[in-house]
Symmetry: C2
Subunit: 256 residues, 2 copies
């Protein structure tokens, strides 16, 4: 199965520490990886068909401190679609003058949605089909960029229609918010003052965030499995969809 | 002014040699750079707001031999739009299930086209507006992916409508072909058997392509200014639009 990593930050934050632990998991998932960084409205997406454990692109991401308020990363274990750049997550499309990035962990069976609008898959994966359908349905539901709560409400209607075809853990962002949906496994944690130290589960590395942060910092992380062994990660419930903004989970009943 | 570099290859080819010379020109164009590599239908786009002369992303591109049959690169000297990721070329959109990449050198004045369809600018540049308008008009002209000659014909109708607003040198690709349009300056050259040596104009580097190539190789390069001093670069005429496929320029009268 693939692995997901997402970040929402109150201030532009680099993810070198978390990505280092995350990339270690690539040893079992050698079919490519990708990371999308939102920088303001801009988006940079680094992908490679080589494993994050030995890819020069992953080495760049580990070493170059790109500061971002929303990040999505994915390590691929191919289930549908060849090992190829066009099948590598995150996938990116533009809607309402904003870039959208999407990464999926899971497997959708017999999911062949009607894609009659402006979003067509380039590759062969169930994941990109799901993303194109989400974009198409969002575009139908709203004439221009809606608020985060309104988008969350629409996504809560759409996600179960895909999830009935199989496992559908996904991350989605347009730069302002990070949406995360779990059908089988996903965990989240918030790092905020007072900051402590954290030790990676997968690599012999500890960071004392108190040394690296200010009182204004706050970061939410979402990952398939907890990345650190001394932070309180919360598991998603099956079917749960959460929006994270400025490093904090949004209330689940925003609109009620 | 910005600088453009494009490549069309008969076989997947790396552009490390040409990019090394091209990146040297970044010393006068410090407002970011970008390179888009098509790998089959897949697309990888590396961008940075730092100069190609000292960016870690540019260092990766110089060192990592990504093999591609179509490449677009751009070094930015900001005329319209801040120095920001969303204003950095190449710009990318999806149309007909294919990725399209676009880079522009020039300056368009009072170009505010009606963008009423599925392609909206994310950043603030005249260049991204021009790209969105081209995508919108291509989508209106063809129901699905047309042949390269048919696309060339449509682009020959569209490009002059933008070029009347200013200088409009551009590169465009969907992976199968590289289109290049000049309004002020652009040059092209084909490297094919028998291969010789070439020396970069901008860096003290010579490559003997005979040592690196096979009889099946053929590469067309397009650049704002010739990159090498011992190859016969052909200048584009003002208003000329050319398609390159499999490393060769297409006949200018394909459709007549």
């Amino acid at each position: 199965m693939c692995q997901l990593l997402g970040m929402s930050g109150r201030r532009p934050t680099d993810i070198q520490f978390s990505f280092t632990g995350f990339a270690t998991r690539a040893e079992e998932h050698r079919d490519g990886f990708g990371v999308a960084f939102f920088e303001g409205r801009g988006l940079r997406c680094f992908v490679d068909t080589r494993s994050a454990a030995d890819s020069p692109v992953a080495a760049l991401v580990r070493q170059y401190p790109i500061k971002s308020r929303a990040v999505l990363a994915h390590i691929r274990k191919a289930t549908q679609g060849r090992v190829a750049v066009e099948n590598t997550h995150p996938f990116v499309r533009e809607l309402w003058g904003r870039h959208w990035a999407f990464a999926h962990n899971g497997n959708l069976v017999d999911f062949q949605p009607k894609l009659h609008a402006a979003f067509r898959p380039v590759g062969e994966t169930d994941s990109e089909r799901a993303f194109c359908w989400l974009m198409q349905e969002l575009a139908k539901s709203h004439a221009s960029l809606p608020t985060v709560p309104a988008l969350t409400e629409t996504l809560r209607e759409l996600a179960p229609q895909i999830a009935r075809h199989g496992s559908f853990n996904f991350l989605l962002s347009q730069g302002d918010a990070l949406w995360a949906h779990a059908s089988t496994q996903l965990h989240w944690v918030v790092r905020q003052p007072p900051f402590g130290a954290a030790r990676l589960q997968d690599a012999d590395l500890t960071v004392d965030f108190a040394q690296l942060t200010t009182a204004e910092d706050r970061v939410a992380l979402v990952a398939t499995q907890p990345l650190t062994c001394d932070e309180a990660w919360t598991p998603f419930r099956p079917g749960e969809l959460r929006a994270f903004v400025d490093g904090a989970p949004q209330a689940q009943d925003d609109l009620r």
